[in-house]
Assembly symmetry: C2
Homo-oligomer: 238 residues x 2
Amino acid sequence: MDVLKSAAPSNFCDTCTVRNRAICSDLTRDELNALNGIGRQRKLRAGEQLIWEGDEAVLVANVIDGLLKLSSQTSDGREQILGIAYPSDFLGRPFGGSTPYGVEALTEAQVCVFERRDFDRFAREHPRLEHKLLERTLSELDRTRKWMLLLGRMNAEQKIASFLLQVADRAGDSDTGEEDRVTFDLQLSRQQIADVLGLTIETVSRQMTRMKSQGLIDLPSRRTVTILDRYALEDRAE
Amino acid sequence: MDVLKSAAPSNFCDTCTVRNRAICSDLTRDELNALNGIGRQRKLRAGEQLIWEGDEAVLVANVIDGLLKLSSQTSDGREQILGIAYPSDFLGRPFGGSTPYGVEALTEAQVCVFERRDFDRFAREHPRLEHKLLERTLSELDRTRKWMLLLGRMNAEQKIASFLLQVADRAGDSDTGEEDRVTFDLQLSRQQIADVLGLTIETVSRQMTRMKSQGLIDLPSRRTVTILDRYALEDRAE
DNA sequence: CGAAACTTTGAGAGGGTTCAAGATGAGTGG
DNA sequence: CCACTCATCTTGAACCCTCTCAAAGTTTCG
């Protein structure tokens, strides 16, 4: 029995929950084993930093579980969140250069980490992996550009409404019922929401309170939102 | 003579000025011929639209010469420029999906256009091309994220200063002399600068006039800027 | 139960927008 | 070459949204 087991060596990819969604999804069994050989899993506590802004990029990673933020700071310490990484998302900057933003866990998180040099070499030898990474990067670029319109041209109300709708869609699977009455967890503090939207914490708070008093949303707890009138909310978002 | 000529068929890549910088740069002679077969050159007048926002992505392109803008609009018609494409940059959205932004020539421009389906197939068969495209997309994503910090967290003065420094660096080769006295052409109208920075035309105008009166810059003509005190300008940028 | 962190609420100030008018410059045809 | 026109840019004044500063309220967690 033991002999049989060792003939098929254990591999943490086997139990990976994002195995079919992350960039590894097109790899063969052998390729997966090779990749497994250069990576390691790592657990992060909420608030723990994985990559520092401006560091030479020494590692890249796949998100397995949890939420992480990519962020950058002005010289006077104000922060802008550049993106939120969800399970199956790819983190870091392969192929040279430094990472121009920091990566920090927002919740407890599980990531699959690679030394960048190892990953770079592996990627160059496996075009299917590079292709997956390319598709992912193109989508991320689209999403980021869409966010620029929000940052550059929307007022506070539009920003909050867009944000709530986006989080609702992304966390969508959770609650349901009628189409326009969804409850979901924000996962972010008011300060973090402000840092995503380029606002202050007070403005975020006021806008959300206002939307609640207008019956667009409900706020059952600090980090929970119920959308009561999705249609009206979409109206405010544009 | 004619026989010899036809043995080495002419190929517009041969005379391409961005041949060694664009994503085609790693291709062999044969590959280049194949790519040449599916592409065509196209000339655009200033203001001409190459891709419309929200269109299903039917074509992609390399910029050979000129400047183009990627931009998106709010429902009430206000515009946000998401990026400027320079010669050797790649345009469009390969591998499915629609292009969530419009592409329009800012100056007279020359592009090398491909049907997206043709390009997709070619790319998948040529990993070196995909690799180039991946590196380029990763760089573009970095640049775009850097811009988010500007849009979300900087005031008008910081935005203008950052913008002028960035244009100066990108157009850098032109004039010179001392290190901190560069003259360059903006290529953009005040309105377009406003659309890049998420400001109004009036704010852009006021800030630039103010910087001129403070001796940071000079404005020899409407679209020309001279940086008189680069150090001070860098100070304003942060 | 008490302290610390986070959120809400209020009042006031300021930066950027809006609306409006005037100035400048480029292109056109007489 | 000069007037004329149109688009672009500058300047001014008033307003408003968001920020700032401050304090009170709420939740969380030891």
